[in-house]
């Protein structure tokens, strides 16, 4: 069989979806770790942010990979959703999905879309100004600006509310997605049970941690 056919196969797509998802989980974990430092120490947060924002490896190697990963995961998600929907041209008059599967697993496209909307907002809020600051205006280095930028974003209750809501949906997305990715790459054995616990824990701790950080800054500044 030709290699090109393999890349088009349903399982190859599924594995690509899983791997890009796992990669984003890793990104999320480090992002969470850095943000969490803002709760304890503005200085630590500033210094890590400065490193991430100015290290060439992070900026010119990891950041592009991340962007490609994000775009791939989203586009693939929409493509698969479209294909999967067309595999059933006439839908059921009565369907009881709740009887056999979780809401999260059936609505990855909904939670994913909300997360995408949030990401766009997030890019607009942080990433675009950051890029403009560094590469368009070529403003001077300022190793202590990060914490303030963060804190002032959470002043608005509306923005904080939206932020929290999107992380709620990210939690649902991860609730299914994290464990699902292991199944997709063929990992299902005696360790799966412990891994599932880890996956569910991650799906709760990390998004709710982000929400905590947002609320913390909202109420403390």
């Amino acid at each position: 069989m030709a290699k090109s056919a393999l890349l088009k196969s349903s399982i190859a797509k599924k594995v690509a979806m899983a791997l890009s998802g796992l990669f984003l989980v890793l990104f999320l974990a480090q992002h969470f770790f850095i943000n969490m430092t803002s709760v304890f120490s503005a200085d630590t947060f500033n210094s890590i942010s400065h490193f991430m924002g100015n290290n060439p490896l992070v900026q010119f190697v990891i950041q592009p990979i991340l962007i490609v990963g994000v775009i791939f995961h989203f586009i693939m998600g929409f493509v698969l959703e479209f294909k999967n929907n067309s595999a059933r041209p006439i839908s059921y008059a009565k369907n009881n999905g709740a009887a056999n599967s979780s809401w999260a697993s059936r609505n990855m496209i909904v939670s994913g879309s909300v997360v995408l909307a949030f990401l766009l907002l997030h890019f607009y809020d942080f990433w675009v100004p950051e890029m403009v600051y560094k590469y368009v205006d070529v403003s001077p280095l300022n190793e202590t600006r990060y914490f303030h930028e963060l804190a002032e974003k959470f002043e608005s209750p509306v923005r904080t509310g939206l932020y929290s809501l999107s992380f709620l949906l990210l939690s649902l997305h991860l609730w299914h997605g994290f464990n699902s990715s292991f199944q997709s790459v063929g990992f299902n054995n005696k360790y799966s049970k412990s891994l599932h616990t880890l996956g569910y824990a991650f799906a709760i701790v990390v998004p709710f941690g982000f929400i905590f950080i947002a609320l913390f800054h909202h109420f403390n500044h």
Binding site: N84, G97, V185, G186
Partner: protein
């Protein structure tokens, strides 16, 4: 005296039983090309000990007497093993009971006065033939693309006990092999994916030494055929495992993913 279901009902015994009155909402479609719609049928005198298909038998006898066309549905063994019966009942493949096919579903799972939706298994790869009957030959074509071990059936082979197989592996291969090919997995899956069905066969052979010889080609070919038939992609919702009348495990899907990846990487 039990109530008469139709003028020509023929009774072997007289029983005193509880009766149920139901409203059936059934998908009617004249043939593959015609448009279909849900049609409502009231039905009375249903006993809790009847099977779901016996309830439909009664409806059909009433329709014949009225001069109407009967509701077509697939069924054969009526003991849950042939895989012929299908039906999406009240939003679930094979109805609300677990680990049973429609033919083993009994009316005691419903209440007097219930409305019951009865629809065909829906998927692009399962086109409707008539009413509730669908064409599942896509499943056959997937099996034809590699669901076998290429041994000569007409000649002598080695003695059966020269291939010892650990009991644990043999039991798991058996569990995978109990798939009856009914299509409930496809019908229940929000993506109409056939992964549980295909992975059951791939797993049965992947777990046995006799099947390992052709394992790589088998999984590549069967997945290619599955994709060509127009089934959707698995997103691991797990609905298939819950609705499977034989309890085929999701582990099989993981195993097939693994087999597929290693076969692709080997090229």
């Amino acid at each position: 005296m039990a109530p008469c279901h139709s003028t020509f009902d023929f009774r072997l015994y007289d029983f005193q039983t509880k009766n149920m009155k139901l409203t059936l909402k059934i998908w009617r479609q004249k043939n593959a090309a015609a448009e279909g719609k849900i049609v409502e049928y009231p039905i009375d005198g249903i006993e809790p000990d009847m099977s779901f298909l016996e309830m439909l038998d009664i409806l059909n006898d009433e329709l014949i007497v009225k001069g109407e066309d009967t509701v077509a549905f697939d069924h054969d063994c009526r003991e849950g093993i042939c895989g012929m019966c299908s039906l999406y009942i009240n939003g679930e493949a094979h109805g609300p009971d677990r680990l049973v096919t429609t033919c083993q579903l009994h009316m005691r799972k419903f209440k007097d006065g219930d409305t019951i939706f009865i629809e065909p298994f829906r998927a692009k790869a399962f086109p409707v033939i008539k009413d509730l009957v669908v064409d599942r030959s896509s499943f056959d074509r997937i099996q034809q693309s590699g669901g076998f071990i290429s041994v000569n059936t007409s000649g002598n082979t080695i003695d059966a006990n020269t291939i010892p197989i650990p009991k644990h592996d043999a039991d798991r291969a058996f569990d995978a092999a109990t798939c009856i090919g009914c299509g409930a997995c496809v019908a229940s899956c929000k993506n109409s994916s056939a992964m549980l069905f295909v992975s059951a066969k791939v797993s049965q052979f992947a777990l046995l030494p006799q099947g390992k010889v052709e394992a790589a080609d088998r999984v590549l070919n069967m997945v290619a055929q599955m994709d060509a038939e127009g089934f959707g992609n698995c997103t691991n919702t797990g609905a298939c495992e819950v609705e499977c009348p034989k309890g085929i495990s999701l582990e099989n899907i993981a195993r097939m993913n693994r087999e597929y990846l290693s076969a692709s990487l080997k090229g």
